[in-house]
Symmetry: C2
Subunit: 228 residues, 2 copies
């Protein structure tokens, strides 16, 4: 650990506890003190995610953490991630470009919390591990969306505020993300990507499949166990 | 009440319980079935606001209501509205263009919830009673902000979604809002604008002063009682 008389600037990092946000935190940690934000919203895996979040926050010695609840997302419904009657493992409807696990306008809610916190902390960067190319086709994971969000931040915060949302993974494939995480020593063993809420990952849901493909493509062993 | 074989389209209306959102609901109700949304976020007046919200929802026979909590806004702080140690009545710091009651990036959090709900309901309109000209200088009450937000909605929702946030009051003065509300029979007697959480409004905080000025300017008596 480098000792410096000059404290690093603070960055807010959205950390779900998955591999993408973990690598994003590792990237942010090079030049920032971390303020780590987790959102629970009635998703099936929220307890498991929070355990991953807390372990990763300890790993990075985050100076601030905030765990917020957006319980209305469950009341609003409309997603296999928050509706127990839908199947999150087989969630892509035939002919639909956007899987059932899409939570309508969710990332805007997440980013709005992050920007509110950043404005109060005086942080100038909000990191989010969105991935365009290799993602599931969610509209709020595309670069165009983040460009629009940054214009909104400029229009909707105090004039003296200068906050930008940054998406260091947006152009990367899952394999590139794994390689970058491995290079930076990201604690993949503490992460949780699976859409189910068990002790071990299912290895079958869309999120597990993307993750496994990424590790395979990078030639890096995935350190977490999988069921059967 | 007009009886029609064709149901009206659904609109989501952000209804704090204040006079602006009440008039906005009255405007929306002419052509829409109302889905009314209230947000509690640890603001001093949340219990009083919710009573106003429920009374106004009954008045408009809203077909759907949603009361959501954003408790992290209190944890994040940074505003006289959510920090009990700050004074909400005398909240403008000398030389500051933006009063202490500004809650950082709050309206983005509110609108994000509204758009998530609208996307699931299939509503194509989200109404918010933002007022630019006569407001307190909040950055997220300006037209430029709503233009940016609508671009974000187009970028961040399913391609088949067509949701627009509309701000029918944005160019009005408080007096014009009172006149429009009176013309539409908006239930002003059920509204609550005061920044304090008492049985009767203080008549001294910035919100009461703007409200009273509006009623005076419109030549309409304000039907709610004020303290001493």
């Amino acid at each position: 650990m480098t000792v410096s008389a000059f404290p690093k600037p603070v960055a807010v990092v959205l950390l779900s506890g998955g591999m993408d946000s973990c690598v994003t935190a590792a990237i942010a940690a090079r030049d920032h003190d971390l303020a780590l934000l987790h959102l629970s919203y009635g998703q099936r895996t929220e307890a498991r995610e929070r355990r991953a979040f807390e372990a990763i926050a300890l790993h990075f010695r985050a100076t601030r953490t905030l765990q917020a609840r957006l319980d209305h997302l469950r009341a609003i419904g409309g997603s296999a991630l928050t509706d127990p009657s839908r199947d999150a493992v087989q969630a892509r409807r035939p002919g639909s470009a956007i899987p059932d696990t899409y939570v309508p306008f969710r990332n805007t809610q997440f980013l709005a919390v992050a920007v509110s916190w950043a404005e109060v902390l005086g942080a100038r960067r909000v990191f989010i591990g969105a991935v365009e190319e290799d993602s599931s086709g969610y509209p709020d994971c595309r670069r165009e969306y983040y460009d629009a969000f940054n214009r909104l931040v400029r229009a909707g915060t105090r004039p003296e505020t200068d906050i930008a949302v940054v998406t260091p993974l947006i152009r990367m494939s899952k394999a590139e993300i794994v390689r970058e995480g491995a290079r930076l020593g990201a604690p993949f063993h503490l992460t949780w990507s699976c859409y189910t809420d068990e002790e071990t990952a299912c290895g079958r849901c869309e999120s597990c499949l993307l993750r496994l493909k990424g590790f395979r493509g990078a030639g890096v062993p995935d350190p977490i166990p999988y069921r059967g």
